[in-house]
Amino acid sequence: MSMNRPITNDKVWFVVPAFNESQRLESVVKEVSAKYNIVVIDDGSTDSSGAIANKSGAYVLTHSVNLGQGAALQTGIDFALLKSAEIIITFDSDGQHHLSDAETMINVLQNDPSLDVVLGSRFTGKAENIPKLRRVFLKLSVMFTNLTTGLSLTDSHNGLRAFTAKGARNIRITQNKMAHASEILEKISQQKIPFKEIPVTITYTEHTLAKGQKISGASKIVEDLIISRVFK
């Protein structure tokens, strides 16, 4: 159990869903692609996100129509697995995640072969410039998720996660929209997939706040989840 899992950088794949993210995408892709593989899923953008990502060093998969973040993640994960990825990182396209946190996750997976998933938590880590209302909403969703999954997490809607190939194969995202975050946690709980939560920093900027999940999205997420329980 204490043996390390040696993984070279070329076996690490960053999966980055992007929807009309041309402004921030370039710096994210350039930073990541300097060391790791990166696949950007252009989820039906109407701007030049795809072309920019491609020029900056990413593989680009194009959804011909907008399906949602959950669907985009699964497309990218499928692709990474096809490319025989051993570690898959889900990473946001708008620059709110830090590469150094992702690298910590890679290290955690390398040093502890019993783990299949590493989740990021902004609440044991840092949530820079997070608005009050959003904090409340996120905390409530953590409570809801812990209640329904039986896990004890400190963050439930954090886009920064790391999976081993095995972990990624076992968690298939069927929630195309934002409810995928809870769906992933549900599957971790149902299949008892070994995971660890580590502190990460999320940097909120004007841009991420304008685009990010709105409070009104919360009711939609709850609705998606309830319906997903009725129709398995």
Partner: protein, 115 residues
């Protein structure tokens, strides 16, 4: 009286449609034939419907119809939703397969291969 005739003819036409149409699921055909036949009977003899309602503890025939309509609506809605989810899944898979098939290799890789 005029409405009765209209309703009767309308239901009868529907019934013929159902009888002579092919259904993938036979049960659906039988249920529709049964419901339409009941409809015709109760249009002609509405007091029979009230009698049946009384048997199951509902005061008026109209109430029984209302309750049944509610159930029917709920069932139809759930069925349609289920179907929508299935179609949505297929659609997602299609878009996904196309995206992976047409994956764009990073620009820099092209340059390396060209030189």
């Amino acid at each position: 009286m005029i409405f009765k005739i209209f309703a009767f003819l309308f239901l009868l036409t529907l019934l013929f449609f159902v009888i002579f149409r092919k259904f993938n699921v036979k049960v659906v055909k039988y249920i529709m034939e049964f419901v339409l036949s009941c409809g015709i009977v109760f249009v002609i003899w509405p007091e029979q419907l009230t009698a049946i309602s009384n048997m199951v503890g509902i005061g008026r025939g109209a109430d029984l119809i209302l309750y049944l309509l509610c159930l029917f609506f709920a069932a139809t809605f759930l069925g349609a939703y289920h179907r929508f989810r299935e179609v949505d899944k297929r659609f997602t898979n299609l878009v996904r397969v196309m995206a992976i098939r047409d994956a764009a290799v990073p620009y820099s890789h092209h340059l390396q291969n060209d030189s």
